[in-house]
Symmetry: C2
Subunit: 189 residues, 2 copies
């Protein structure tokens, strides 16, 4: 029983990577079976709802990972400026400098958006919210903090698109560096 839970959770990273690489439609069950090394029997045992339930589970795990590694630190860190800086390095690592797609962003551009809309919306809403809080605590004027947070979160998503299309990871890192600079409070000298 405890074993099954552990196994199901172990599948999620593999599932996530498969959906990242092939999208929702493109990730066929046979592809998923190959990637996970499991037959349909096992897959439907863990995810009776089929592909849709797999994506839901993956999205939940992604949100949990970001909650623990990005959102919560942004909200709670003693040093908000350091937390924001850490966010940029964490995200650069997570997206492999743009070589790895953001599943949430990719799904948002696909027709799967309508099916998983709530999870996609919440992911970005939480991110913007947490970053807004950190920016405010770091000294940014509250009236512009949300806008800046949206600029940054959106900028990161755009950097993934651009770096992937141009096949230039350096572009991803350069853009994130620029966003990071904008996140710093302009202090006179």
């Amino acid at each position: 029983m405890a074993r099954s839970v552990a196994q199901r959770d172990d599948l999620l990273p593999v599932l996530a990577e498969t959906f990242r690489e092939h999208g929702y439609e493109g990730a066929s069950l046979s592809l998923i079976a190959t990637a996970t090394g499991l037959g349909k029997g096992s897959l439907y045992h863990f995810f009776p709802g089929g592909k849709a339930e797999m994506v839901e589970a993956v999205l939940a795990e992604i949100e949990a990972w970001f909650e623990g590694n990005v959102f919560a630190p942004l909200r709670q860190a003693d040093d908000p400026e350091a937390a924001i800086a850490a966010m940029f390095t964490t995200v650069t690592d997570y997206f492999r400098s743009g070589r790895r797609v953001c599943l949430v962003g990719a799904l948002s551009l696909s027709d799967a958006r309508d099916r998983f809309g709530q999870a996609l919306r919440r992911y970005f809403a939480l991110w913007v919210e947490a970053l807004t809080a950190a920016l405010t605590r770091a000294g940014h004027p509250p009236e512009g903090a949300t806008a800046l947070a949206e600029d940054i979160v959106g900028g990161i998503q755009g950097a993934v698109v651009l770096a992937r299309a141009l096949d230039r990871p350096e572009t991803f890192e350069r853009i994130l560096g620029c966003l990071r600079a904008r996140s710093q409070v302009a202090s006179s000298a």
Copy 2:
């Protein structure tokens, strides 16, 4: 003969919209047949290469449209600042404030990227190039112009992702307004 050419070209917008809405894998031939009102016979008459050729044709038409409406004006306009401003309004209109997906960006995030990589790369490269030229002519220091152009083009792509995920077209317009402001040369008072 002239008629067939006209008809084939007339298909492209419908095809483009279908691919935008459903992606490469999701846009099945039966869906395309329904959207265009043509049977498989006609579709394969116009596009013997099947779906792949349809996407190629659509991407070529998109590039041609941007070349005429965005890239060329950026490169050649007498007033580069006005051309950049016009780009933002044109693009806001084209992407329906983020309600409409950028097909090139969406394909870049999908596994179709490998198949159409060259066309995707060229679209963004041309855009960055043309915008860099306009920014430089508008008075931006040449060493930072390409970086700013990348920020803007990437920022637009990210705005599409974010606005679609959050279901907030206002966010798209706000981000584009911010990017537009950054494109203006900082003049002392």
